[in-house]
Symmetry: C2
Subunit: 462 residues, 2 copies
């Protein structure tokens, strides 16, 4: 029997190569052109769970992509950890901005990852972080170190709203029964500043379509005389923020949790350099809601961003056209207490109300999710904190994240258990962007830390 | 020797088939993927001019696509007509909105074209209208009816700004010397309301690029904390019009010709039904600058329209990204006296000045052109008016168009002659849109009318 450090050191290259193989499959759930690849990835994950020591592994059919389920139950009197992750990835667009092909993983050193990082779509989000749990299980089963029961639920639609998971979970409450849910799909502050995410923002994602004339028109003959859907769309979107960058949708802020001065002072202690932040993004200034700091703007405050916009002629050269239609994808990040479905309705009602005569507007809700908070006195949080202290040599900082994992609040509602977000990625890992990567040090540190979580959680549960 | 009506009736099917063959070549000048097709179209036009009776035809090299030149000089003491047209076409996008393939011409009847119309990209703009002149020349040469000298200059870059023509014309003033320039690249009010375009709007076409962070970012982690280039672009574009839809660029209106109450009253006499206009476009209201009618808004007033916008994720499904860059193509239609290069500079200066901290803005001028007016006492206009009266049975109405043919003011400056815009298309022919078409009646009526122009112009020049 080996300890975890020497097991990792003996198997390091295999761990890396197995992840690389998984990253080669382009499991883009948002684009149906990749549907066979998504299914092939599910099969690969199933095999990996079997090899890592799960007693029973199955592909659970859903209305969409299947959910991979695996378990190893050693004693029904012991606590059960449910690991959640996802095997789908974001689209790789814009592909021309990648320095190497997104599904042909390469290892390169970076300033923040001197031991190398794997560059590929999904390297960090979430194949790499999910696979840490598979390899941690392998260590525990092969070395007789598993102190409790474990269940894995790995889905294939996280990047498109987890609709099938929302269908699956309430129908499988018994199968999924657990004492704590463990997810690695977030980040930490820095490799020498470990942190655990205790709060997530909610999300409402919509697509809007503005229709003007019933066909594309010549801008010379009609320009100035009919509503141009693109001009109208820009005016409508622009009006969604006022001069202080507050969102203007009536009722939008009604349920927003306002933090106390003390809480905001506590948050302000997290290490942050505005200069480094601006330099890393090559921007001359930050931009956001008046009255809040950068760290507050991207964590405790709700926001509204256009994620995509298109209409008219976008090819090479010039075309003097007035488009018939213009489109945008718009998402709102929400904070705890804001109800995402209510916000979607408020957006829809408001956006339709501000359409000028001469255009028709359609708002199509895409998906959404609630915000979430884990209290730091929860034993799951405490077990994770002790695990990080063990492997990083320092206590992790509890941190609110600006991102959303909508299913976390679903789990709380349906499975009545809290989720612990042990993320090992860095903000600079470029998830959802070209050149996504995941540090090899981080990958191995995750595999090292996870078994301690199982050990401490089992102890604290006694 | 035949008269023109019987010649057309004898050769009608051949005239139609020859045009259809020309329309099959996708001469899209805006997209380099079609460059061989553009060149092939030039060859086809050269052959057509030779067959129609030009004594000398040549392909004139330029920095871009070649200009087809042909001439038939019968007597240097007689006047010379220079015919201008273009053999390139607009891009066919969005192709999925065409009822038949854009480069596979079909003849279909429509309400306005009960004798059938040819549906294809370029059918009206400008292959069909240009080819009327070739067939009119054929009639005159084959039947010994050419009363004066004729030169043809057919270019391949009209849809992308005629840059090579602007290079060619000043270098070939002697070759191009003429007494009047004849162009069919505009429309008329209706088949029973002939009209001749006496004014054109100018154009300034620019592309703008807004850059925020140096890479695409996850909207959860960064949303609300950095300037989102798409949101910023919408705000910047929205601010270009005030609440009365006046353009807010400082100095934009300084040189705009203001028409007198009498002139506006004269314009208002043109037949126009707001209900029919709205029904034809399926819009519930028109939209435009306060204080002006629809016909004024699209002819005597300058305008600013977004012709294309893009940024972020525009594929299927959802992607929670903050794009690094957002783009728009913006064109301004100008009226006589506005200098297009000055307006481009005013736009650039203003647009750059309104960029908020946190983004960089680049404005790239595409192309432009001056507005233009032909006085109706010009003998070219009078010859055209008499020609229409002969073939339509009624006097044509002089009309200001909202469109731009930037090279018309170039011709006036370099060649010192006036241009007569004898357009035979209808506004409903969907030029620059899917399902562009050209009425067969209009095509043949153009061929019939043009020889009378030559006859009257030669007479009036004595």
């Amino acid at each position: 029997m080996q300890d975890i450090q020497s097991y990792i050191s003996d198997n390091k290259n295999r761990f890396i190569n197995e992840l690389i193989e998984l990253l080669k499959i382009p499991s883009v759930s948002a684009d149906t052109a990749f549907s066979q690849d998504v299914l092939n990835t599910a099969d690969a994950v199933m095999k990996a769970l079997k090899d890592a020591g799960c007693d029973s592994v199955e592909l659970c059919e859903t209305p969409g992509y299947p959910i991979v389920y695996g378990e190893k139950i050693i004693d029904s009197n012991l606590p059960t950890v449910l690991v959640y992750g996802h095997y789908d990835v974001q689209p790789a667009d814009p592909i021309n901005l990648w320095d190497s092909p997104p599904f042909d993983p390469v290892i390169k050193e970076t300033q923040l990852h001197p031991e190398g990082a794997i560059f590929a779509r999904g390297a960090c989000d979430d194949k790499g972080q999910m696979y840490m749990h598979v390899k941690a299980l392998e260590y525990m089963t092969k070395n007789d170190k598993l102190p409790c029961n474990v269940k894995f639920m790995i889905e294939g639609e996280e990047e498109v709203g987890s609709e099938s998971l929302a269908w699956f979970v309430p129908r499988n409450k018994e199968k999924l029964a657990n004492d704590v849910i463990l997810i690695s799909d977030t980040g930490m502050i820095a490799n020498d500043i470990p942190s655990i995410t205790t709060g997530l923002r909610g999300l409402s994602y919509v697509e809007v379509e503005v229709t003007g004339p019933n066909r594309d028109l010549h801008s010379g003959l009609y320009g100035g005389a009919v509503a141009n859907p693109i001009n109208v769309l820009t005016k409508m979107i622009a009006s969604l923020h006022d001069e202080n960058n507050h969102i203007t949708i009536p009722g939008f802020y009604d349920k927003v949790e306002e933090l106390s001065t003390e809480e905001r002072a506590e948050m302000a202690k997290a290490p942050f350099s505005l200069e480094k932040y601006k330099n890393a993004l090559d921007i001359d200034d930050v931009y956001g809601e008046a009255g809040y700091t950068t760290n507050e703007r991207n964590s405790i405050r709700p926001t509204l961003d256009v994620n995509g916009i298109w209409g008219g002629y976008t090819g090479e050269g010039a075309k003097t056209v007035i488009a018939s239609k213009a489109y945008a994808k718009i998402s709102m990040r929400l904070v705890p207490n804001q109800e995402w479905e209510e916000i979607t309705q408020l957006f829809k009602k408001h956006f339709e109300s501000i359409a000028p005569a001469g255009v028709k507007v359609e708002v199509k809700p895409h998906h959404g999710g609630q915000g979430y908070v884990t209290p730091i006195n929860n034993i799951g949080y405490q077990a994770a904190s002790k695990a990080y202290e063990q492997t990083f040599g320092k206590k992790p900082i509890p941190q609110r994240s600006g991102g959303s994992i909508p299913i976390v609040s679903l789990f709380e509602k349906e499975l009545e258990s809290k989720t612990i977000l042990m993320g090992f990625g860095l903000d600079s890992d470029a998830i959802h962007s070209p050149n996504e990567h995941f540090g090899i040090w981080n990958y191995l540190k995750g595999i090292e830390t996870i078994p301690y979580f199982y050990e401490y959680f089992t102890e604290l549960s006694k």
